[in-house]
Amino acid sequence: MISRQTRAIVWAQWCSTRNRFFRANRAGTAFTTVLGVIWYGAFCYLAVMVAFLLSNPDEPASLRNALPAAFLICFLYWQLIPVLSASMGSSLDIRKLLVYPVQRRDLFRLEVVLRTSTSVEMLLLLAGAGIGLLLNPRVPRWAPLALLPFVAFNLLCSAGVRDLLVRLLARKRVREIVVFLLVLAAALPQALLLTGGSRGRVRQFFSSESSAAWPWTATARLAEGEFSWLSVSALFAWLAAAYVFGRWQFERGLSFDLSEATARSAPSARAASRLEWWFALPNMLLRDPLAALVEKELRFLARTPRFRLVFMMGFSFGLLIWLPMTFGSRAAGHSLLADNYLTAISVYALLILSDVLFWNCFGFDRGAIQVYYLAPVKMSLILAGKNLAAVLFVVLDVAAIALVCTLLRLPFSGLQILEAISVTSVVTLFILSIGNLSSFYNPRAVDPEKSFRSGASARAQAMLTLAFPVALLPVALAYLARYAFDSEWALFGTLAGGAVLGAIVYAYSMGSAVRASEERKETIIASLSRGEGPVAS
């Protein structure tokens, strides 16, 4: 039964979403809607394909082989993608709701339902699978019902994982260790799959022969219409375990005191002083007020949990996840990825960092925008300060990648390092140009204390899907030139051309951004001052 309070929360969130929608920038809303339609439309198409495939009564063998692996992939996507993209979907703003007399179990139910926001894609595919199985005459009518406990299992698991990670990542000293462990966990399957010995066991794990005790295998068996008490018991045992885990983590999250956790893990004076040289760097190279602006950005970002998480992910995720794929297989030798490994990882780091450094550069220190407007400093200089700080962090991330690659004795030449730096620089110029505009046209307040982005943030996805290909275009042309002329000179020449073009685009976009900052002053300040509804998205 839905309680009165639950209905009130849902109603308030509906009002909040409606109010925001009708007051939002029309162009931005249309843009986001179009992208949402394309993205989820693609998954709807896939779901229809899955439905067609599973409704075919003539392919029982392929069905039997494919389903366990498909459900395992579905589980991994549901649990890992939100972590890898540092975006844990919508969740209740517990801090605001805890002051009211609402039952904890009601809050938990809502929180579990909100976990659907992290994996609408998988829900679409599972719905397709359910319809396909329902239409398959060889499959009993009850069989597709097995998908329901599997969905509930994933939702509960996801709720538990989210609460656990949010709590762990709030503690400064624990955060870095957790990120490192996550990176290792994400890299482990590929490392096992691609490096000799354990390959057989991993392949078996993904295949239809894996134990029926796994939730994906049990679901697959039941969904095929192969009833057994073992599968039923296994599936419901996993469901019960996921409920206990999810509820336990939720309860711990409710009694979690962020201020206390932050105070416990406050950095020591010695640790703070170790970073002073980094913060003082702009003062050696620049004059005030630019030096002061860059220093402020460096200090602020370095203390921001979300930035620190993304920065660490920037060099560690790319390295550890792609390393086994690139160099793990003994037969790999020279592949496209192996030849361009350093460049690819550097661009990936840039992609990960772009959400916090470029697209919405006033979002974190949203209160500062008013100071920027009041200070006797040109907005172009403020933007330049933010851009320079972003570039310094990108350089640091790329340097960390190069250092780790050198320590691992990966086969890189000086030319490849130069290539990685050149490509990253050109792409950075274009991303900065687009980011400066988007920071003034689509500003939004972001809580810097939250390590994970709350919502999927369609705009951020939109920027990634549309802006990144544009920024990569000159680089693609440079590689095309190398392929056509079979010469490194062609690559570097085109990249140099791209850099000149990027500088022109940057200068032009800076002018437009500064004009927008004046014309949209009130909207920008208002957008950066707003909080959320009962659900943070």
Binding site: A12, C15, R20, R95, V99, P101, S259, R530
Partner: protein
Amino acid sequence: MPAAISVHNLRKMYGSKAAVDGLDLEVPRGCFFGFLGPNGAGKTTTIRMLMGLAPPTSGSIELLGLAMPEHVLEVKGKIGLVPDESLLFDHLTGYEFTEFVGRMYGLERPVARERARELLELFELDSEPRKLIGDYSKGMRKRVAMAAALIHRPELFLLDEPFEGVDAVGARLMKEILLEQVRHGATMFLTSHVLEVVERLCDRVAIIQQGRLVLSGAMAELRSGSETLEDVFVRVVGAERPAETLDWL
């Protein structure tokens, strides 16, 4: 009848630092209680613990005769809260927010809706019904928080700087409403830095510093002689020192 607030040996540690250090406090029912202290003294932490937002490290809390956290839901249902502004929902209108709060306290939707309308009229927030809280001025935000706190007729009010940023007319209105509630038997627990307001409204005060209670008593007793509350406060927290100026200023 048990006290409205009864706190014994309350302690809250942040790392090795005690934000609240062995606090004992009794707030009788029907009293307008001022809870004072310099910045960082532990007032907000205490209020957060009373609201159930921060678990105490040790000690006990009883509100309206009910132990926390054992009776947390029952207690919350009887409390009216004027929190700091961050607990408001910026994308709701004042009317929607007040109705939402009413429903969260278990009122039927038509009742919550009707009371929300009346409260917004009372607090003079009804002239722009479609305006979002995010677009409100600071004073308007405090007024809507106060309106929402009243919707379920609570027995105990926890007021965190309720007059901050409110204009003189709005503040007068809010004070009158609060005093009226006290006359009807409600209890007020008020934190404020505006000592003149505390002096005028409260019949009892407590002053904390570095998490410890340094003074508590009836207003009339504390202000013996010609001393104002400000004089008492400055003397008790030990902040009396000659005003210094900087050479370049």
